[in-house]
Symmetry: C2
Subunit: 141 residues, 2 copies
């Protein structure tokens, strides 16, 4: 992943490219497995530069606000993050909570009448069920 590209995408959104912020963004781009904030914090701190927990959360918040990162809320579990690269939908495993990407396809928008005065920003599709690891186990219970 090109470091300059990351720097540019941060600065293009009005965010300074600090070592800590860069580390969060780079980690998300290299690890597409939807890590939690805690996992990102740990990963970033395995090597220099160090980053405090507050900074990791701050940077995740900033990156989400800037539209570079997506947060996926998972019921009863910590939020998970991914860099907004290629568009995709999400599959969440009922059993282990894993979040996986599902190939993108267009989703029909709701009739404008049912939205009223609301302003629609985005439309996401979430599939639920059992991931390929959990499916066999569940079947045998």
């Amino acid at each position: 992943m090109d470091p300059e590209a990351i720097r540019r995408s941060l600065e293009g959104r009005g965010l300074r490219c600090t070592a800590q912020r860069y580390a969060v963004m780079a980690f998300l781009m290299e690890h597409t497995g939807h890590p939690t904030a805690a996992e990102i914090f740990e990963a970033v701190n395995r090597a220099d530069p160090r980053s405090s927990r507050a900074t990791t959360y701050n940077n995740l918040r900033d990156l989400v606000q800037a539209g570079l990162v997506r947060e996926v809320a998972v019921e009863g579990r910590a939020a998970r993050f991914d860099a907004k690269g290629m568009r995709h939908h999400h599959f969440i495993c009922d059993r282990c909570g894993k979040v996986e990407d599902v190939e993108w396809y267009d989703v029909p928008r709701p009739a404008s009448g049912s939205l009223g005065k609301r302003i629609l920003r985005e439309c996401e599709l979430i599939f639920r069920g059992l991931c390929s690891k959990c499916a066999p186990r569940q079947a045998s219970r």
Copy 2:
């Protein structure tokens, strides 16, 4: 709402119809505004029977597992619940976090190839943006 119908739906799922559990279910059926666990706990305790916090959470978990209640995870906020009555999609306000229902319409399923060995249970659509209350305010910032 018919108390007998609630009792039957609980027992049909192997859950005893206790006063506390009934209260949670009845509250959710009467209040379609997606309350949080804390709100449900408070509401149930405004009148008899009393219910502890743990019981409220236990019952919500049981009801979700039984498929009678849906949990909607909202980023950075407490989970919200609704009785699974009529099928609907959800609209979540970026600004105030409110969860609103959007009229149901069918969503095309993913190509079976992109699901692999996963077992698909359901498919939900989440719209994001600004609710009708927040839309005007945001425009003027």
